[in-house]
């Protein structure tokens, strides 16, 4: 009786597991910790994560992209079709493009869009870009899935070299306190577990709000004045009137020693919205702001 049952169980398991398992060439664990299986390098990729699109372009593999979000504006992918938003893409367009891989945001497995895509048998890889370790893993995984490990290695090496160079340039130097702020009412800063905090660390600084309990806390100007950071790094968008010039006149801010001594640096928001191929550039920008004396001639 037990033998029959276990035999039935085996047959049951064999029937219900996905058929292509035996033929999967690549087996990866994505950013959410789920397993992704591909039988061949992906040729038709829809990327819903703008920074992953940037990475794909940096890898030189943008020809594999058949779909992007409407927020991706790089000239290299202007011909690639837009499928709409990042979390809520237009499913009709997604399916009409016949992708063999979809790159999605981490943590979106429960959305109806993701479930529809998975139900069709299309592999989905969740991109996690929380910090530099995740960045390197994503680069490696992209190389694997797109069948170009050499491009991935080249990009990783280059990024690694940039980060190492920045770290070396500030080795041994004292660490000033740094405020990274998105100016608002109230202003927003970053918590210790974000990649921006990591950038500050790499660039030889110390995050002045390292005791924050959430990743993007809103803090009072009063608290900023009280903590008197040595350096202020201001995130500015391309269309903002809130730059360092206005900061010099703002109540509270203008009495900061950092502001009065000109230790305020503007960094484009694109560099710090998410880690991507410009991570090294961001690290250099941070280093130049925190340790201008360490800038190579």
């Amino acid at each position: 009786m037990a033998r029959h049952l276990s035999g039935l169980l085996l047959i049951f398991v064999a029937c219900t597991s996905s058929a292509p398992q035996a033929r999967a060439r690549f087996v990866l664990v994505d950013g959410d910790g789920d397993t992704v299986r591909l039988s061949a390098p992906a040729q038709r990729v829809i990327c819903l994560v703008p920074s992953a699109t940037d990475l794909t372009v940096a890898l030189g593999l943008q020809s594999r992209l058949v779909g992007r979000t409407r927020y991706d504006k790089a000239p290299e992918i202007a011909q690639v079709a837009s499928v709409g938003g990042t979390i809520d893409p237009d499913l009709e367009r997604v399916f009409a493009l016949h992708p063999d891989l979809v790159l999605a945001w981490e943590g979106t497995k429960g959305t109806s869009q993701r479930q529809s895509i998975s139900a069709r048998g299309i592999p989905v890889y969740a991109v996690a870009l929380r910090d530099s370790a995740a960045l390197f893993k994503t680069v490696r995984d992209l190389g694997t899935m797109l069948g170009s490990d050499s491009a991935a290695t080249a990009l990783s090496t280059s990024l690694r070299a940039q980060l190492d160079s920045v770290q070396a340039s500030v080795a041994g130097l004292p660490r000033p306190t740094v405020l990274f702020a998105i100016w608002g009412d109230p202003p927003m800063t970053i918590g210790p577990h974000t990649f921006i905090a990591e950038l500050i660390q790499i660039a030889g600084g110390r995050d002045v709000f390292s005791d924050a309990t959430i990743d993007w806390p809103k803090v009072s100007v009063e608290e900023i004045v009280h903590r008197a950071p040595d350096v202020v790094i201001l995130s500015v968008g391309e269309d903002s009137t809130r730059g360092s010039e206005a900061l010099r006149r703002a109540p509270g801010w203008r009495t900061l020693p950092a502001v009065q001594h000109g230790h305020v640096a503007e960094v484009p928001a694109d560099l710090t919205n998410r880690p991507g191929p410009l991570f090294g550039v961001a690290a250099r920008a941070f280093r130049d702001a925190i340790h201008p004396e360490a800038r190579p001639r």
């Binding site: 005791d211 009072s220 004045v225 903002s240 009137t241 206005a246 009495t255």
Partner: protein, 330 residues
């Protein structure tokens, strides 16, 4: 002013002064009275002086003015609409203001400074009020209360639709900024902003005080008011205009702060009656105190993080409101 009125107002003023003093002393740095006075005089530590003179003081003044404006506006709407659940945003003010501000933040691009966002919010509020009044005035020869309420709901819903539309095309930064504005904050208070608020509040409050007796009568009925000699239509237009102006100015300065305009007049009525000659100034004082205290809490309770003021007034306001409702006679 009767003696009773004088005593009540004096007590509320003392309470406001205490809340003001607390708000100035408390924050990322807690200061005693002497340190505050030193900072006010311009001496002492530069950082502390900046905190007191440039940040806490204008913010406290703005908080008091916003609270007073919202409470007086709420009391007036409750009388005009003869409805205990009326509040400052009932004629679509919050929807219009939010639409203006969100549009400025998301679409304004290069021109979206705090001043222009505030101005856009005010314009949005004014536009929605004008629309509501226009709709109501077009229905009949007199300003019909029920039509006003309906028009307010409709205009508010329309504004909300506009807000969602604009938010759907916003990028992450603009989205965050827009929703942050809507949750209410006094963080960006400046002396100029406070002075503007005062310029709106003081004459409007005086006007409404002059209309105190007509408002008492209108709270019973329009016929009753007319038979007691009130110029009903003129009073309604003036009072609606004044109350809407107060709501618009408050929203432009601080975003959407709820519950103040609803609860404070109720509390005053429960304690001291519905005569607007006392109700209006008492609501102003108590509203100022309420917002001062909740704003202080918003920036100190989970320091260094600042909580949105609109959320704190709701969290504090809801249980207070329930308690107030229970105290009424069944």
């Amino acid at each position: 002013m009767t003696r009773r009125t004088g005593v009540v107002l004096a007590s509320l003023t003392l309470l406001l002064v205490a809340a003001f003093a607390l708000s100035i002393r408390v924050g990322s740095v807690t200061l005693d009275l002497r340190a505050v006075l030193t900072a006010l005089a311009g001496r002492g530590d530069a950082a502390t002086g900046s905190i007191i003179r440039e940040l806490r003081l204008p913010r406290a003044v703005a908080a008091a003015l916003v609270g007073a404006a919202l409470a007086v506006s709420g009391a007036t709407f409750q009388a005009l609409l003869r409805n205990a659940l009326a509040e400052p945003y009932v004629l679509g003010v919050s929807g219009g203001a939010a639409l203006g501000a969100v549009a400025a933040i998301v679409l304004g691009g290069l021109t979206a400074s705090p001043t222009s966002i505030s101005a856009a919010a005010f314009l949005g509020a004014a536009a929605s009020i004008a629309l509501v009044l226009r709709v109501a005035a077009g229905v009949g020869p007199t300003l019909d209360t029920r039509v006003l309420l309906l028009a307010g709901v409709v205009v508010g819903a329309f504004a909300n639709a506009g807000i969602f539309l604009i938010l759907s095309i916003a990028d992450v930064a603009a989205f965050r900024s827009a929703t942050g504005w809507m949750m209410g904050s006094l963080s960006g208070s400046t002396w100029t902003g406070a002075a503007t608020l005062a310029a709106y509040l003081v004459p409007t409050l005086v006007l409404l005080l002059a209309l105190a007796r007509p408002l008492n009568a209108l709270a019973i009925g329009e016929d009753t008011a007319a038979y007691l000699g009130v110029s009903v239509e003129r009073t309604k237009w003036l009072a609606f205009g004044a109350a809407s102006l107060l709501a618009a100015a408050a929203v432009a300065a601080a975003g959407i702060i709820g519950f103040v305009g609803l609860i404070v007049p109720h509390a005053v009525r429960l304690a001291w009656g519905s005569d607007h000659r006392l109700l209006l100034p008492a609501s102003a004082l108590l509203g100022a105190t309420f917002v001062l205290v909740t704003d202080t809490a918003a920036r100190t309770v989970v320091a260094p993080t600042e909580l949105p003021l609109g959320a704190v007034t709701a969290i504090v306001g809801v249980p207070l409101f329930v308690a107030l409702l229970r105290r009424r006679r069944p």
